[in-house]
């Protein structure tokens, strides 16, 4: 295999994981825009998506076309529940406390997952049979294409939702200025709950897409979630386009350094990138404001 073929290989696998980071980063972004809270349960939405899909598909024997969307809806409900049961009733409105509420929820959720699905690794089948495809000298599976295509569809759907539907516009209005939105009769609490539901759905989608490639267990989302967070910072925290660009760029950097330099430090690369961004360009690649000095 020549260098060019290798490079094509790394680019494809980088874009695949990058697309998943982008989905996770979008979830972070949604909740951040609605509440200024970094939702540390985002990675657990991913785990739950994979686990629910596994149970509906293998356990309940539903067809994929039914099991996967149902899993995504279920996690969206869990997201809404998190907002309704933990964030909304919180006595303190300090962002710091709310962030730690999501961390506590994350610990609780992982405990529940471990209890229900056990500690062992499970296997979620890919969306279509694993016949290897070849392109530009790179070998890849149809799942790589599925990940990229569905992520693209999800992004287009989000753009449509936020620009063309009343609910989407109301959510944006709340994110921009919640009191002004409330004066226009928008129920800000409800919009925040929708943000959590949508973040849950995006996390679950990422889980259904990536766990056939990685593996599936009760805590698979922790590290992917943190990398999605790094991707969001890289792109410019809170920016939708930034989340997508940050995810793809981070996936590429990770895959290229692992392939061309060393894979030993693969899990550290994303966080080295995170630190470099914070030190050199805290607003992120696409950030415009960010990084105000005190």
């Amino acid at each position: 295999m020549g260098f060019g073929d290798q490079l094509a290989q790394y680019v494809i696998s980088g874009l695949t994981t990058g697309a998943v980071y982008a989905l996770v980063a979008l979830g972070f972004c949604l909740i951040y825009n609605a509440t200024r809270v970094v939702n540390f349960a985002q990675g657990d939405f991913l785990s739950l998506g994979g686990l629910m899909a596994y149970s509906l598909l293998i356990g309940a024997g539903l067809p994929m076309a039914l099991a996967f969307p149902l899993a995504i809806v279920a996690v969206a409900l869990v997201g809404a529940l998190l907002e309704r049961m933990a964030i909304r009733p919180a006595r303190s409105r300090q962002v710091m406390v709310l962030i730690f509420i999501t961390i506590a929820a994350s610990i609780l959720m992982r405990g529940i997952f471990k209890h229900l699905w056990g500690k062992q690794a499970l296997a979620l089948p890919p969306l279509s049979p694993e016949t290897p495809l070849r392109l530009l000298g790179a070998t890849f599976t149809p799942q790589n294409l599925w990940v990229l295509a569905i992520t693209l569809v999800a992004i287009v759907a989000l753009i449509w939702f936020f620009n063309r539907t009343l609910t989407g516009k109301a959510m944006r209005a709340t994110a921009i200025n919640s009191s002004a939105a409330a004066l226009m009769g928008i129920d800000a609490h409800r919009m925040t709950m929708y943000s959590f539901a949508l973040a849950g759905a995006l996390g679950a989608l990422a889980g259904v897409l990536i766990t056939p490639i990685t593996s599936l267990s009760y805590n698979v989302g922790v590290i992917i979630g943190l990398k999605g967070f790094a991707a969001a910072v890289l792109g410019g925290y809170g920016s939708f386009l930034g989340a997508v660009v940050g995810g793809l760029v981070l996936g590429l950097i990770e895959s290229l350094t692992a392939g061309l330099i060393s894979s030993v430090y693969k899990d550290a690369v994303a966080f080295v990138v995170l630190l470099l961004v914070l030190f050199l360009r805290p607003g992120g690649l696409l950030g415009v404001k960010g990084g105000n000095r005190v």
């Binding site: 200024r36 943190l226 990084g291």
Partner: protein, 318 residues
């Protein structure tokens, strides 16, 4: 001495008295060991609380500073034959420099950039501890760390370490209290209440924030070194991001920004996993659940609650 000072030293004397009498009741080495771990956590959390309460910043990297203190001190004394106390000091200096490098660019900025940077830093340190196995012993850990000594007598037993660790806590509390009442402390308090007014009055905000961050990292480093020399073996899992989360949780449950909050939070949460061991199967569910309820309904922390602090209801975070 001010009334406040009298109150602080009154509490401190009461704590010292309880600590002096405790070993008469607690003789079981298992419980002594739990008390020792509580002491080390109190030390880290006291430093962390200075950062949260006076610089308004959270660090999710204190387990890494704790771990660097442990590994640097352990390796220097274990592999290179350094005198353990010297190794402890060297580790503290290295950690101070690392904290300076992280704090300088991120604390300049408005917002929670420090929490992101320290989170990333902790994850990198965890990977390094596992991957640099020639130096660190890899995932199974680093062993053969000599214990500290006191005028030639080794501090190896649970009871001798008890005196050392809790002695360090008392010193740590006094130093923290002095910092709060120093020029830096007053400046930071002003910054917390009215940043613009503080800056306009010539408070060097950035320098003070960085200073408090470094001090809090050094608290963690010293606690980590003490930990390494006490156990003689250290493993990377002890210093991962979950430990960082646990440490901040102790601050929040005890009372954010309160000098005594760390003591309460660490004393309550440290033995929790052991207590919950009876329900091993449901440990995380109980721990997460308790934490969630405390954070939702008692965000002012135990100390805040005891002082009758009420949280203003209503309002939104955004």
């Amino acid at each position: 001495m001010s009334a406040q000072g009298k109150k602080f030293f009154g509490y401190l004397a009461a704590l010292a008295a309880v600590l002096a009498l405790l070993p008469l009741v607690v003789t079981n080495p298992y419980y002594l060991n739990v008390l020792n771990v509580v002491a080390l956590n109190v030390l880290v959390v006291t430093g962390l609380n200075l950062l949260i309460g006076y610089a308004g910043q959270i660090s999710l990297g204190h387990a890494a500073f704790f771990g660097l203190g442990a590994y640097i001190s352990g390796i220097l004394s274990g592999s290179y034959g350094w005198e353990p106390w010297t190794a402890l000091l060297a580790a503290a200096v290295v950690v101070a420099v690392v904290a300076l490098i992280i704090g300088l660019p991120t604390l300049r900025l408005e917002g929670n950039y420090l929490v992101m940077a320290t989170l990333g830093f902790n994850l990198i340190v965890s990977v390094l501890m596992v991957q640099l196995d020639d130096i660190t012993g890899g995932p199974s850990g680093y062993t053969g760390i000599p214990s500290l000594s006191f005028f030639g007598a080794p501090i190896a037993s649970d009871i001798s370490f008890y005196w050392l660790a809790w002695g360090a806590v008392l010193v740590g509390l006094i130093l923290a209290r002095n910092l709060v009442h120093s020029r830096v402390g007053r400046g930071l308090k002003a910054l917390h209440e009215a940043p613009l007014a503080a800056a306009a009055s010539g408070v060097p905000i950035e320098a003070y924030k960085v200073k408090v961050f470094i001090i809090s990292a050094v608290y963690a480093s010293v606690a980590g070194s003490l930990y390494a020399h006490y156990y003689g073996i250290i493993t990377p899992a002890t210093f991962d991001i979950f430990k960082s989360v646990e440490l901040v949780t102790m601050c929040i449950v005890g009372g954010m920004g309160s000098l005594w909050g760390g003591l309460f939070g660490a004393a309550l949460l440290t033995p929790m996993p052991q207590l919950l061991a009876v329900v091993e199967e449901y440990k995380d569910i109980f721990f997460g659940g308790i934490l969630l309820v405390l954070l939702i309904f008692l965000p002012q922390g135990l100390v805040g609650w005891l002082e009758g602090k009420r949280v203003r209801p209503g309002g939104r975070a955004f």
